[in-house]
């Protein structure tokens, strides 16, 4: 299946179908989840009104992690099969993932202040999310530093895969580290017994954010394909089609 859609033309025709579906689903789900979350869902008796932040925080963090998984898998495909579509998928995913991670961190901090009295604690989950943000940024920075397209794809793919190896190790070490340094964990996810009327909008928002991610990635990939096509056409119009070799001769052609 992978190789079937690895063809840019086939990918383009598939993407033309998927783009509107993802776009509309994302818009519908996110808007309705937010309206439900802001105005309809009854308040949580423990956390009060701040609970409403869950509808922007949880989907951002969840989809950001999925975005990193996507980035790493696309990088793996790009590295092993040297396929340029996988590379452009990874390239498209990085800035969106970084933005979602940033949203997750920022809304988490804004949630933390009224809930636990601090914008930031060096909790395992926060710390590894912060590291993931740096992984996204590092990935984009290393792409920006390499001019040659082949080298860029390969070095960037290695970087993304190292990050994927490193993330669980960091999670483990930070877990151990905070259990040593913090007396009792301040953060407790959710609280006891989430009512299903609170849960559904969260799921809607997660799916919505996921569709938003897919929509943006596809749009960016289509944009890059078009850019490449314009470049090729321009070069062909200018007459430069790369160098070609003449047949082997035994005479010195300059003599």
């Amino acid at each position: 299946m992978l190789s079937f859609f690895a063809n840019p033309i086939r990918f383009q025709s598939l993407a033309k179908w998927l783009v509107p579906i993802f776009g509309i689903t994302a818009f519908g789900l996110i808007v309705s989840a937010w309206i439900l979350g802001l105005f309809v869902v009854p308040i949580d008796y423990q956390q009060g009104e701040t609970f409403r932040i869950i509808y922007v925080h949880v989907p951002a963090v969840t989809v950001a992690s999925l975005a990193y998984a996507f980035l790493a898998s696309a990088s793996f495909v790009s590295f092993v099969w040297r396929h340029s579509l996988a590379d452009s998928a990874a390239k498209a995913a990085a800035p969106i993932g970084a933005a979602l991670t940033f949203l997750g961190l920022a809304t988490g901090a804004l949630w933390g202040k009224p809930m636990w009295g601090a914008y930031w604690v060096w909790d395992a989950r926060l710390t590894s999310t912060l590291v993931m943000f740096f992984l996204f940024v590092g990935y984009m920075a290393i792409r920006g530093a390499i001019r040659d397209e082949t080298t860029r794809a390969r070095i960037a793919a290695i970087t993304a895969m190292i990050g994927a190896l490193n993330l669980p190790i960091i999670k483990f070490s930070v877990d151990w580290w905070s259990s040593l340094h913090q007396p009792a964990s301040l953060l407790r996810a959710g609280g006891p017994g989430i009512d299903s009327s609170m849960l559904y909008p969260v799921l809607m928002a997660i799916v919505g954010y996921g569709c938003l991610f897919g929509w943006l990635v596809l749009l960016k990939m289509l944009t890059e394909l078009d850019q490449r096509r314009s470049l090729t056409l321009m070069r062909r119009a200018a007459g430069r089609i790369g160098s070609s070799a003449s047949v082997q001769t035994t005479e010195d052609p300059n003599a």
């Binding site: 009060g48 701040t50 933005a99 804004l110 944009t223």
Partner: protein, 51 residues
Amino acid sequence: MLDLFDFGKNTVFILSCYGLSAGVILALIVVTLHARKLTKQQLAEIIANTE
């Protein structure tokens, strides 16, 4: 209208969370669509010129 957006003492935090999310997501969408539009135009121009 103001009543609708009143969530007690934490209104500021909640609204800034939603505002920030909406802002960043909109910015992402605008940037992506803008780039898409530009390249489509460019490609159309080049195709028109070369034929």
